[in-house]
Amino acid sequence: MEKTMSIRKNELVVRDVMLGNNQFPIVRERILIKETLDKMNEFSIGIACVVNDKMLLKAVFCDGDIRRTIISNQQTLSAFFVDDVFDHAVKDYKFVTENTTLIDAVKLMGKLKIWDLPVIDSNAKLKGLLHLHPAILSLLN
């Protein structure tokens, strides 16, 4: 019985637990930082995926980027709020695909010390978001 469960957990892939595109913040490149933060607060998720009009993932913007930018740029908050999110977002983002095994994805998150990974296809089209909590819960249950 334990062996069967173990095999099933090994077979879990990102697609099985990822959040759909209506369940996490997605913003366009020229959206303001303030509007992006509102979106992140709305979903209570610390990452926003920055896409173009074809839903191709161009960058990601996360809580860490906010912290680092506040320290490094030393802009007033009012100036930071009206910057385009794309200007502060990470363009060489890490990602997984829908067929990545959940265990590999969680290991990658641990290695990178991150809580969220965008899920894209071979054309960089955004398919979803892997959030750490549901991923861990799926592996625990």
Partner: protein, 295 residues
């Protein structure tokens, strides 16, 4: 911080369009603050024509038909929409020069746009949606002046409004920022900040030295600082200069304490042009400013 902006083109019909942009020659926008009379407007335009030809700088003639933001109810407002636009139109035809006037009332926008090559949104009204919509709907490029109460980064909101109303040709101008009461200050970092909107920027030298309503019912000014501020702004990367000029500032019917005596214009323009050309040369040799903060 610094990034290329789009080029904008001022001029329609018979008037040869003037290009304003990052790798373009410096452009002057100048004229008397208010249209005082037909003869006076022509006198100033003629002087500008000759000075700009001597210096080798392209120019846009600026004057307003109705100054709606004067400090006192007794102050001269202008000749009004109809007569003012007729005079501007005559200047345009005579000198083959693009013209600009501001408008302070939505009802004036359409007629202003029918005549002017560039329509100007006054600084005090720079965030009024109705004014911005009216400006955009003229179909002309829009000269958007930064309110003295606005941060340079917040001008992006006004730009976004103009874009949402269909305008894609915008020139953003700094005319100083309130520094306490009755005083302005110029922050040269406003130029790269406003350029982040993607549009060229301009420096209004004569309003920047204004001491707003510092003399009870009129504004004062410190004209001595005009050359210094012009040099600073041009070195900081502006694409155009804005200056209100007069042959006899003491007797100017509008802004007598800030308009530049036109006899000083040539030397200021020569310096500005030299600095601008040096900056273009440096851009060519060293590229855009590339100092970034590290995360």
């Amino acid at each position: 911080m610094s990034q290329p902006t789009k080029d904008i083109f001022i001029g329609y019909g018979d008037v040869t369009p003037i290009k304003i942009g990052d790798r373009c020659p410096l452009v002057l926008i100048a004229g008397p603050c208010a249209i005082e009379s037909y003869d006076h407007t022509f006198l100033i335009a003629d002087k500008l024509f000759n000075i700009c030809r001597k210096v080798g700088i392209k120019w846009i003639f600026k004057s307003c038909y109705d100054k709606d933001c004067r400090s006192s109810p007794e102050s001269f407002h202008g000749l009004g929409l109809e007569e003012g636009l007729q005079i501007l139109s005559a200047i345009r035809k005579e000198f083959n020069v693009p013209i600009v006037s501001d408008f302070s009332d939505v009802a004036w926008a359409k007629k202003t746009g029918e005549v002017c090559d560039l329509v100007q949104v006054p600084a005090y009204l720079c965030r009024q949606s109705s004014i911005l919509r009216a400006a955009a709907e003229t179909g002309r490029p829009v000269h958007l002046k930064k309110g003295q109460f606005m941060s340079p980064w917040n001008m992006k909101n006004s730009v976004r409004k103009l874009e949402s109303f269909g305008c894609e040709q915008i020139l953003i101008t700094d005319r100083g920022t309130f520094f306490g009461y009755n005083q302005l200050v110029n922050d040269m970092t406003c130029f790269p900040i406003m350029k982040k909107t993607g549009y060229p920027v301009c420096f209004d030298a004569t309003h920047s030295i204004q001491l707003p309503t510092s003399m009870g019912n009129v504004s004062g000014g410190q004209r001595a600082f005009i050359p210094c501020l012009v040099r600073s702004a041009v070195a900081s990367g502006v694409n155009a200069l804005f200056m209100e000029v007069h042959n006899d500032p003491k007797r100017a019917l509008s802004d007598p304490n800030t308009v530049l005596n036109i006899k000083y214009l040539e030397i200021i323009l020569r310096q500005a042009k030299e600095i601008h050309n040096l900056r273009l040369e440096q851009l060519e040799n060293y590229g855009e400013d590339n100092v970034h903060t590290e995360k």
